[in-house]
C-alpha cells in the first residue's frame, strides 16, 4: 500500500471507490490495532459511504481545506473518526504518516473527531446528537447568504435516541434546507445491544418522512447505488435529504460483522493478521 497521498479524487468509477473504501478499512484496522482503541465496527460500517463522499461527491480541495466554497462534512458520529482521518489522509489533506500516531500521547488525532490541527475535519464531535444541529446552522447560513455549497452529515443509529437530533430534524424541513443531506449509518447495533433491543427506531424512514424530509433507503455498501443517489441530490427541491443507509457493523471482516463486541474490541495480532488477509492485504 502506498503511503503517498492521492491528490486526485477517484471520481465516479466504482472500482476506484471500492479500492478507496478497502484502503480506509485497512488503515483503520492498523490504526485501532496499534492504538488498542475501540469503534472499528462503526468505522467499517460507514467506510463505503465515506469513500463515495470523499472520492466523488464532496466538493472539497485537499490543497485548500479552508476553501470558503467547499461542501461541509460533519461526522456527527464522532467515534468513527479513525475512518474519517484515514479517508482524509488518503485524499491528501494531511500525510498518511499522521495515522500512525492516532490516539497516541502527543498526537493531534484524538479518539473522537477533532478539528484542531487536523486539515479537513470541519467540526469536532464525540458527544452524540450535536452534528445535525451544527449542520443545520451551516446549511441555514449558506441558504441565507446565497452560497451554493452543501452540507453533509453522517449520523449513527444510536444517536437517533438523542432528543437534540429530533430538534434538528424538525428544524431542517421547516427552513427548507435542501442543501442539507443527513446520512444515517443504520448498522442496527448501538453501544449496549441491538437497536431493536435498546430503543427501537422503527419505522425509521417513516419518522423522517413525517418530519418533512425527503427520504431514500439505500444499501450503504453498494458503491454504485450510493453514487447514483448522491448524484441526484437533493432528493426533492425544498426539502432536506435523508439517506437511511442500511449497513453491517464491522462490514468487510467476517468475524467482526454484526458483532457488538467490535464496538469495543481492538484486534490482537492474530485477529489483525486474519482481518488483513480477508481485506486482501499482505500481513
Amino acid at each position: 500500500m502506498s503511503a503517498r497521498a492521492d491528490p486526485q479524487a477517484p471520481g465516479r468509477d466504482a472500482r476506484a471507490l471500492a479500492e478507496l473504501a478497502r484502503t480506509v478499512r485497512l488503515r483503520t484496522l492498523r490504526m485501532t490495532h496499534r492504538a488498542k482503541s475501540s469503534h472499528i465496527g462503526t468505522c467499517f460500517s460507514m467506510a463505503d459511504l465515506l469513500a463515495v463522499l470523499y472520492g466523488h461527491v464532496l466538493r472539497v480541495d485537499p490543497a485548500r481545506p479552508d476553501w470558503p466554497g467547499r461542501d461541509r462534512f460533519v461526522l456527527s458520529k464522532g467515534h468513527g473518526c479513525a475512518a474519517l482521518y484515514a479517508v482524509l489522509a488518503e485524499r491528501g489533506f494531511f500525510p498518511t504518516e499522521w495515522l500512525d500516531r492516532f490516539y497516541q500521547d502527543g498526537s493531534n488525532l484524538w479518539g473522537h473527531a477533532t478539528h484542531h490541527g487536523v486539515p479537513g475535519v470541519e467540526v469536532s464531535t464525540g458527544s452524540l446528537g450535536h452534528g445535525l444541529g451544527l449542520a443545520c446552522g451551516m446549511a441555514l447560513a449558506a441558504q441565507r447568504d446565497g452560497h451554493s455549497w452543501r452540507v453533509f452529515t453522517v449520523l449513527s443509529d444510536g444517536e437517533c435516541d438523542e432528543g437534540s437530533t429530533w430538534e434538528a430534524a424538525l428544524f431542517a424541513p421547516h427552513h427548507r434546507l435542501d442543501n442539507l443531506v443527513a446520512i444515517i449509518d443504520y448498522n442496527k447495533i448501538q453501544s449496549f445491544g441491538t437497536v431493536t433491543q435498546v430503543l427501537d427506531l422503527e419505522p425509521l424512514a417513516d419518522k423522517w418522512r413525517a418530519f418533512g424530509w425527503a427520504v431514500r433507503e439505500i444499501d450503504g455498501h453498494a458503491i454504485e447505488a450510493i453514487v447514483d443517489v448522491c448524484e441526484r441530490l437533493p432528493l426533492e427541491r425544498g426539502r432536506p435529504s435523508c439517506l437511511i443507509a442500511h449497513t453491517v457493523k464491522g462490514k468487510g471482516v467476517s468475524f467482526m460483522e454484526g458483532d457488538l463486541l467490535w464496538h469495543y474490541r481492538s484486534p490482537d495480532p492474530d485477529e489483525l493478521r486474519r482481518a488483513l488477509q480477508e481485506l486482501g492485504a499482505a500481513p
Binding site: 469536532s124 464531535t125 464525540g126 444541529g133 451544527l134 446552522g137 446549511a139 447568504d145 452560497h147 430538534e167
Partner: protein, 321 residues
C-alpha cells in the same frame, strides 16, 4: 437591560450583516422590530435550546456572529454541552444571552431562578462571562462582546433596572469600573447588585467608613489587578452577587486573592446559600429574605471591619493570650 440589549443588537445588525439573533421562542413584545427589519438576521428557532445552540455554532462557523436569546437557565443549563463542545471548543462566535439572571423572575419559581449560571459558564474554557450592572453597561457590553471573537455569556437582568452610571461610561471587557473610591473597604459587585452596593456605601459613609465600589461586570476574564489593588489599598473586600456562593463572583475574587501577592486581606461574600428558595416571592422579596438586603450587606461590612480591627490589635498588642 432587556431593552438596552435589543436596541443595541438591532443597531449592530443595521451596520453588520453577520449579526444574527436567534431566540428560543421568547421575547414577545421586544423582538418584533428586529425580526421585521432584519429577517435574514433573525430566527425564532422554537422551544429547542439544544438545537438553538448547535445551529448558532454552525452559523458562526459559516461566518455569522450569533446571539442566542432566552430566559433564566434555558439558554445555558438546558444546552450546556452544546455551549461547551459546539461553541467553546470551536471558538465560535456564539454569544449566549440570558434575560432574568438571579431572581428576576422571582415568583415564577425554582425553574426560573438562574442562580448557578455564572459558576457553570465561568468553568468553560474560552468562555467570556459578563453580567452588566445597568442599561448603560448592557449596551456597552453587547458591543464589546460582538467585537470580540469567540463565545460569550451575557447575563442580563430583566426590565426596569435603574441607570446607575452617568454619561461618559468607560467600559472595557475584563476591566472593573471604579464607581466610587474609598480606603476602608472595597465592595465588589456584579450585575444589578451594583445599585445596592452604592446605597450601602453611602450609608456607611455616615458611619465614617469609606467604601470603594467596583462594578465587576466581567467575571471572566476577571480583572485581577483591580482585585489585588483593592486588597492592597483597603485590606478588606466584600463581594456582592445575586448568585450562589459557589463558583460565582465571590469564588472568582477569592481565587484571585489566593493566587495574588497580598496576604493581609479579609474577604466576605454576600451571595446565596446553595439551596432552593422555599417561599414564594417577587425579586425584591427573595433578595431581601435570602441574604442580599442592604442591611445584610452593611452588616457584612461592619463585621468584617470589626474582625479586622480585632486582628490588628492582636498584631499590635504584644501580649495576645
Amino acid at each position: 437591560m432587556r431593552t438596552a440589549f435589543v436596541h443595541t443588537v438591532t443597531d449592530l445588525a443595521s451596520h453588520d450583516r453577520r449579526i444574527t439573533l436567534i431566540t428560543g421562542d421568547l421575547g414577545f413584545g421586544v423582538m418584533e422590530g428586529f425580526a421585521r427589519a432584519y429577517p435574514h438576521q433573525f430566527l425564532n428557532i422554537g422551544v429547542a435550546e439544544q438545537n438553538m445552540t448547535s445551529v448558532a455554532a454552525g452559523m458562526a462557523l459559516a461566518g455569522r456572529v450569533v446571539f442566542t436569546y432566552s430566559i433564566g437557565n434555558f439558554p445555558t443549563l438546558r444546552c450546556l454541552e452544546q455551549i461547551r463542545n459546539d461553541a467553546c471548543y470551536h471558538m465560535a462566535d456564539v454569544k449566549v444571552v440570558s434575560v432574568g439572571g438571579g431572581f428576576a423572575y422571582g415568583a415564577l419559581g425554582m425553574s426560573h431562578h438562574a442562580t448557578e449560571d455564572l459558576a457553570i459558564m465561568r468553568a468553560l474554557p474560552n468562555m467570556v462571562v459578563v453580567a452588566p450592572a445597568d442599561p448603560l453597561e448592557t449596551a456597552a457590553a453587547v458591543r464589546a462582546v460582538a467585537a470580540r471573537p469567540g463565545p460569550c455569556y451575557l447575563r442580563l437582568g430583566r426590565a426596569g433596572e435603574h441607570t446607575v452610571h452617568g454619561d461618559g461610561l468607560r467600559f472595557e471587557l475584563g476591566k472593573a469600573i471604579t464607581v466610587r473610591d474609598g480606603g476602608d473597604v472595597t465592595l465588589i459587585s456584579t450585575g444589578a447588585m451594583l445599585e445596592r452596593a452604592i446605597r450601602v456605601a453611602e450609608r456607611l459613609d455616615a458611619e465614617g467608613v469609606h467604601a470603594r465600589v467596583l462594578s465587576m461586570h466581567t467575571l471572566k476574564p476577571l480583572d485581577t489587578d483591580a482585585v489585588v489593588a483593592a486588597a492592597r489599598h483597603t485590606g478588606a473586600i466584600v463581594t456582592l452577587e445575586e448568585h450562589s456562593a459557589i463558583g460565582g463572583l465571590g469564588s472568582a475574587v477569592a481565587e484571585a486573592l489566593l493566587d495574588g501577592p497580598v496576604r493581609r486581606v479579609r474577604l466576605r461574600r454576600v451571595a446565596l446559600a446553595s439551596r432552593f428558595a422555599s417561599t414564594v416571592g417577587g425579586p425584591e422579596y427573595l433578595r431581601d429574605t435570602l441574604g442580599l438586603s442592604e442591611s445584610a450587606i452593611a452588616e457584612a461590612v461592619r463585621s468584617l471591619l470589626a474582625e479586622r480591627a480585632g486582628e490588628m490589635s492582636g498584631w499590635n498588642g504584644a501580649s495576645g493570650s
